[in-house]
């Protein structure tokens, strides 16, 4: 495991509590902040628990995993909240991460673009590209 001076990164992954709210109830799970993921990924169990049936979704997407390319359903959940930032009607991919993973999902760019510190980060990158 890589050694980091920042205590938040000492486990090798930046994991955060995320609240996912659906038609029935909400679940809180630990998710890894993943700037390389276009979409947020939640486990199938969580989608079902909060009131959705991913098997009935008409929208699907191909994702590359450690076991190859898989086709996973996309659903729109009522809200996704993390560190006090709440995003309504956000698309998430329903897919289970490997059982060895202590985090259950990935917090991808479609959430992070709404997150104030990340908005600033994007602005800074834009400025750097202009100079």
């Amino acid at each position: 495991m890589p050694q980091h001076s920042n205590p938040i990164l000492k486990e090798g992954v930046l994991s955060l509590y995320v609240q996912i709210t659906g038609k029935r109830t909400f679940r809180i799970i630990k998710m890894a902040l993943d700037t390389g993921a276009s979409y947020t990924i939640i486990p199938i169990e969580t989608a079902v628990a909060i009131g959705y049936n991913p098997a009935l979704s008409k929208r699907h997407i191909e994702i590359t995993t450690a076991n190859g390319v898989v086709v996973a359903p996309i659903i729109t959940v009522e809200t996704l909240s993390c560190l006090g930032t709440e995003v309504k009607n956000i698309d998430v991919i329903c897919h289970d991460l490997p059982v060895q993973s202590p985090v259950k999902g990935l917090l991808g760019l479609n959430f992070l673009v709404h997150f104030p510190p990340f908005k600033k980060f994007l602005k800074d990158i834009e400025q750097l590209q202009k100079t």
Binding site: M1, P2, E11, G12, V13, S15, Y17, V18, Q19, R24, T25, F26, R27, I28, I29, K30, A32, D34, G36, A37, P43, E45, T46, V48, A49, A66, S81, C82, L83, G84, L97, V99, Q100, S101, P102, V103, K104, L106
Partner: protein, 72 residues
Amino acid sequence: MNIEAIRKKYKKEWLLIAIDKMDKKRTVPLFGHILAHSPRRYEIDQRSMNYAKPALVVYSDDKFPKGYAAAF
């Protein structure tokens, strides 16, 4: 019971925890009570899918097992 105390009590297990108190400003569950625990994730997933109230589903440890690293 404090959530982090529950996670320490059930080492290397998946946990289904009913939430009693939350810090909504930070989206962090503070207190709860254990509904189910198991080293097998699918058992907790099954319990969670049949539980209609707000809950936390979490592994007791934030670390990957020895020899594993994340490459999402």
